[in-house]
Subunit: 258 residues, 2 copies
DNA sequence: ATTCGGGGCATGTATATATAAGTTGGCGAG
DNA sequence: CTCGCCAACTTATATATACATGCCCCGAAT
């Protein structure tokens, strides 16, 4: 009654995703400025030649991201474009840095296979003493050290790293190419003081504050693959989180304004 | 064909939310342990006497939170119970502390009405010099100071605070009672060194690291109401984020294991 | 001029149905 | 005994429909 000219059920396309991406694009490029009212659901149905289902799914996703608001009885309107990063961009320092104006760099300090210590074993859900692959790298932006990263991989995933130049490419891209897909991560933030080696590598005074992010990354099946302890020099990188009462939140890593 | 005995369209109930909460409860209390397979969609339909729509909505929400995984063709299964906190629990220190074993406390240092400085004005989207309500409080857990909080409210929201005992109740509960509903927040994390007054109030050495959370909280319409600069003593409180490639992420504030 | 209803429109929720596609397990051929 | 293929089951996606409820605006009454 409302659309048609489309046989019931075409191949596959994930229409709701198509619609959501299109609306997101209109918001970010200004065709739907902040405060503007979105087209009504019925209009979107006509425009995309779909039924209300996919349209509502797309709107629900936008609402969960905090990009649109409004509700029962009233047309939804744009409340702001929340900066969003894909999962891979959030996980991979290399990929993230490329999306900023800063020039990324990295220096591998150590790549080793060794027995898991207690905390690493707990994070990766393996027995203490099991072999893991550990890599320590200093990350740079415009030649300035901003982060030191101590990452432990399970042997299964980490063995791919020995035939790989850890100073150039992205580890995540390399792992993905080898069939290791990381889709879930858990990040914990706190502050620590820079100590001996870290202070030296990051070129900051001993005892000065660092932002620490500890991260456990898992496959879709929930199997932990990576545990990392990353320590950031303040003022260079911050982490930003958006959350709304309705549903979840999104996480973004940003270079602060200056 | 599958359920019924329920007239088409009862009042209002948000069945998908009921179903989601029930499943969440089963997972957290162990009736659905990690790794267990969920009932099939058809079974859930029978059990709750609903059609597939609400069931699928509930499962989609659980999947977005990273609690369940699995999909096309296979029954979904539990991959882990992600600790989740409601928005209010995440925003309100008082409410959050009550869900831990620690005994919360607070000491109001200052409550004032003053002209907005540049950074506050920018955060709250008001002109520089506009009157705002600022409150400085030290937050305690088991009598130990763990955080100092500098919060600025717009005058509209903040004027309710002067007839309120800021040492006892929750500001958020009080604001909600006065019709100010906060539903969206943006948090930014970094590390700073403890300086003069902060170090004194938190009873830590000057120059020691603090975890800083800066937060802008808005109403559903996207109007900023609160800007806060909270500084945490390390080791007492951490922030944890879960995110998955599919969909968003959730944010949690936790007391670390010790 | 201001306020109070009512109706139209838009969204929220739920049902029934249909097709595509992935998973799993069993059966038969080599 | 093993390998491969197929059938049954289950989920993902989409359509059409129906009704409940909340906004918003316009017109009438005060």
């Amino acid at each position: 009654m409302m659309t048609s000219s489309r046989s019931p059920l075409e191949p596959r396309a994930a229409l709701h995703r198509v619609i959501g991406d299109e609306l997101r694009a209109r918001i970010t490029d200004g065709r739907l400025p902040i405060g503007a009212a979105l087209p009504s659901e019925a209009e979107l149905c006509r425009e995309f030649s779909v039924s209300r289902g996919p349209v509502r799914q797309a709107l629900a996703a936008l609402r969960a991201e905090g990009i649109i608001a409004g509700g029962q009885g009233a047309v939804a309107h744009v409340v702001g474009s929340v900066p969003t990063q894909s999962m891979t961009s959030f996980l991979s320092f290399s990929e993230w840095a490329q999306s900023t104006q800063r020039r990324p760099g990295q220096r591998t300090v150590e790549l080793a296979k060794r027995a898991a210590t207690e905390d690493v074993a707990a994070a990766l859900s393996v027995p203490v003493g099991e072999l893991v692959v550990e890599i320590i790298r200093v990350r740079l932006l415009d030649e300035v050290p901003v982060m030191v990263e101590r990452t432990s991989f399970t042997l299964e995933a980490g063995r791919h790293l020995f035939d790989f130049d850890t100073d150039s490419g992205s580890i995540f891209a390399h792992l993905k190419g080898n069939g290791v897909e990381l889709v879930a991560a858990r990040h914990t933030f706190d502050a620590v003081a820079a100590e001996g080696i870290d202070a030296e590598m990051l070129d900051v005074p001993s005892g000065s504050p660092l932002l620490r992010e500890r991260r456990i990354t898992s496959t879709g099946a929930g199997v932990p693959v990576e545990y990392s302890d990353d320590r950031y020099v303040p003022g260079q990188v911050t982490f930003t989180i958006n959350n709304t009462a309705a549903s979840g939140s999104s996480v973004v890593r940003l270079v602060p304004d200056q």
